[in-house]
């Protein structure tokens, strides 16, 4: 008869060691100085919160036609929200024609749709979904946002974007229902049996049919052009920082690898690029791209101002990201490379299978910190005349009806920035926990 060791269940802790009262006594009122500090802390928090609430809610004016009415009603003791409410559409969409903002909404809805599968359990093709979101979604969104005359090439790209979205959902549903990717499922249903070649052909054919159908659909769309001068507010901030963020990560990885490369030309070029863009303030780069670049361009050639700003932001962000990634790469012990080499892995295999996954994981806090920094840095584009969220908030106080109203819009803008940055930060923490599951005991 085997002797099985079974531990007794733990006894509950003594009564005077648990409960709220104990926690409070231990953490807040351990001794006299500690108690005093606690009370002082509570008092300061109370004063600040009460003052903000008084101003923002209890004393605030919610209905008025001009700031003068607010001032006559409560003076400076309460916020004057009607001005912000009236400007809210502009704070969100900029000067985008109000009858066309559904296009922006639809564009962002498409992004949300594209990303939802990433959070769904039992979806296996998450990498492909993420990759298509980065590479194909922009084409679809660009047409929603910009509109206007689309040539054959652009039409094809938009159709590619549309077919991408359809594929993402087809594969998501297929994987959740049958556990097979849509390609497998289609191949088996269309070609039947186990003939690989036929299956592959069937899948390709289906892809082509999807693309052609999308192209047919896209060619019937026609949206009026909304030039980028009318883009603004939160929308513009998201566009600039979104492109900056999605571009900076892959570009940063390439630059970091380039800088550590053994090939002298690549190493020198990467180092030059990184050092050049990292040692110049973003505002200078924006000025350079905005005001100097047109001087060097052939006569009559005008590159869109927003495009110039985005390129500037992207290059700057890539240079910073490169150094962050390089830090991560250097944290990988040499043994990992040697182990990979002893397994016979080449450079790219070592990098993509062994080094990068580990490096990126430990770099998550810094990478996300960089993203958050970039998101906030985009406020600098207001200097070169783009009406991002910040500049739009400033415009509220210059509206003749709401002259001088600037604390309220900035309050709202701060909250908006907080929400976005906090969301990014919380997501990164979740991601860290999820990815470090292997390290926990």
């Amino acid at each position: 008869m085997a002797l099985v060791f079974e531990s007794k269940p733990d006894r509950p802790p003594p009564r005077d060691e648990t409960g709220l009262a104990v926690w409070v006594r231990r953490n807040l009122f351990r001794d006299v100085p500690n108690a005093l500090m606690t009370l002082l802390g509570f008092y300061i928090a109370y004063v600040v919160v009460a003052a903000v609430l008084d101003w923002a809610i209890f004393n605030a004016v919610w209905e008025a036609d001009t700031r003068r009415e607010c001032l006559d009603a409560v003076g400076r003791s309460g916020a004057c929200w009607p001005g912000v409410v009236e400007w809210l559409p502009n704070l969100v969409y900029g000067l985008y024609p109000k009858d066309a903002v559904w296009r922006i909404n639809l564009g962002f809805l498409a992004l949300v749709l594209w990303l939802i599968p990433l959070w769904m359990p039992r979806v296996k093709s998450k990498v492909a979904v993420g990759l298509t979101a980065v590479t194909l979604y922009p084409f679809l969104a660009s047409y929603f946002f910009l509109g206007g005359d689309k040539g054959i090439v652009w039409s094809a790209l938009i159709s590619l974007g549309l077919s991408g979205l359809v594929w993402v959902w087809a594969t998501t549903i297929s994987e959740r229902v049958t556990g097979q990717s849509i390609a497998e499922l289609l191949g088996k249903t269309l070609a039947g049996g186990d003939n690989d070649v036929l299956q592959r052909r069937a899948v390709r054919g289906a892809g082509l049919v999807l693309f052609l159908a999308a192209y047919g659909l896209v060619s019937t769309w026609s949206l009026a052009e909304v030039r980028t001068q009318f883009w603004g507010g939160l929308f513009l901030t998201l566009v600039i920082s979104g492109i900056g963020i999605t571009f900076s990560l892959p570009a940063g990885i390439l630059l970091a690898l380039g800088r550590r490369s053994n090939l002298p030309v690549i190493a020198v070029l990467s180092t030059l690029f990184i050092e050049l863009f990292r040692s110049v303030p973003l505002i200078t780069i924006l000025f350079m791209f905005n005001t100097m670049l047109p001087l060097f361009m052939p006569e009559g050639m005008e590159v869109n101002q927003l495009a110039r700003a985005i390129v500037a932001v992207c290059l700057f962000a890539a240079a910073y990201m490169a150094e962050v990634i390089r830090g991560g790469l250097q944290a990988i012990p040499k043994g990992q490379y040697e182990a990979a080499a002893s397994l016979g892995l080449g450079y790219w295999q070592t990098t993509t299978q062994v080094v990068l996954p580990q490096a990126l994981k430990i770099m998550i806090p810094t990478i996300v910190g960089n993203f958050i920094g970039l998101f906030k840095d985009t406020t600098l584009v207001s200097i070169i005349g783009l009406f991002d969220l910040m500049n739009m908030a400033r415009a509220v106080g210059e509206d003749t009806d709401w002259l001088g109203l600037f604390i309220e819009p900035f309050f709202v803008v701060s909250l908006t920035y907080f929400v976005f940055c906090f969301a990014m930060s919380s997501y990164s923490i979740r991601l860290e926990e999820k990815l470090s599951a292997g390290r926990e005991r």
Partner: protein
């Protein structure tokens, strides 16, 4: 190509404009849009409404030029940039004209590769102080702290005035008017100085406007007017004479209301020449002969523009009568050469 780049570098460094071989008018026509530079939204002169439309005295000058060229006041792309880059945006060709309360000074006219066209508004720098401060003249501001916008002639004028009168003024500067006003209202400075046009509008938005008074001194001359790039005389003529046309229209009594009637049946030769029924001024400028008819019908004459945006019945409320901005025939110095 390298020469061109070198030349451009020299142009940037030396602040002289590169020569844009293509005529500006031609470029504008090709583009189908007039790139008109205004500043960050400012009431009365270039105000941005919550529906996204620009309006104001300076904006109307852009609209007038747009109407002169295209017959449509809305073919304008407004470029709103900070004062710091306004001249660079002209030099690099991004803007075709700059119409944003820019003071005409010798240095700006001679050293930036830019040309001032004419004056659209005569301003001057004044001071605002709390009524209970006991300060009655700018000369009382000895050792005072004064709030002033940075990067403008206002800041330089204040420094000059302080030095000339031994006032030893300390400045508090910011680029955002609202921050300055807030500092001033919070007691962060003893006086707030700006162009008088700006002061009046700001005071109207104070919690209690009557608690603040203007000091009698006007310490500077601020002739504000549109600017074009140097080296394109035809374009400069076009902008200048469109504005002269608007001023002449007021002098001759042509308004947006009666311009069609007058064009059909000009009461006198001056009006006939202005409206293009006689002479060929329009063609010489590269425009339609009756371009002023469109301009006045769409925008109005100088007096109409003034009263619409900054006159006493607007929130900005700058009185016109008896000031420099009255017509020359009514005691002011708004004067345009004859249209003949």
């Amino acid at each position: 190509m390298r020469l061109l780049t070198l030349a451009s570098c020299a142009a940037v460094v030396g602040f002289t404009a590169p020569s844009f071989a293509q005529e500006t008018l031609e470029t504008v026509r090709e583009r189908g849009m007039l790139n008109c530079q205004v500043g960050l939204p400012t009431p009365g002169f270039y105000a941005l409404a919550d529906d996204g439309t620009w309006s104001g005295l300076d904006v109307d000058l852009c609209r007038a030029v747009s109407t002169a060229i295209f017959g449509d006041p809305d073919m304008v792309e407004y470029q709103s940039v900070t004062s710091a880059v306004r001249f660079t945006e002209m030099q690099n060709g991004a803007s075709d004209m700059l119409s944003r309360t820019t003071t005409w000074t010798a240095v700006r006219d001679t050293q930036l590769g830019l040309d001032f066209t004419t004056v659209g508004f005569y301003d001057g720098q004044g001071f605002l102080v709390p009524a209970d401060s006991g300060i009655e003249s700018a000369l009382d501001l000895v050792g005072a702290t004064v709030c002033v916008l940075t990067g403008t002639t206002t800041e330089l004028n204040l420094a000059d005035y302080s030095r000339a009168n031994d006032l030893d003024i300390t400045t508090v500067t910011n680029e955002n008017v609202n921050v300055l006003v807030e500092t001033y209202l919070g007691g962060g400075c003893d006086a707030y100085t700006n162009d008088r046009s700006g002061l009046a509008a700001r005071r109207s938005a104070f919690p209690d406007p009557s608690a603040h008074v203007f000091l009698p001194e006007t310490i500077s001359k601020e002739p504000l007017g549109p600017v074009v790039r140097e080296g394109d005389a035809a374009w400069r003529d076009l902008v200048t004479w469109t504005i002269f046309g608007i001023i002449n229209a007021e002098e001759l009594g042509v308004t947006s209301g009666n311009v069609m009637e007058m064009a059909a049946n000009p009461p006198n030769p001056n009006i006939a020449r202005l409206l293009g029924t006689e002479g060929n001024i329009g063609e010489e400028l590269g425009l339609e002969p009756d371009f002023m008819v469109d301009v006045i019908a769409a925008i109005g004459n100088y007096g109409e523009i003034y009263e619409r945006h900054i006159g006493i019945n607007t929130p900005v409320g700058i009185p016109r009568e008896g000031t420099l901005n009255a017509l020359w025939s009514e005691g002011g110095i708004i004067y345009a050469p004859p249209f003949r």
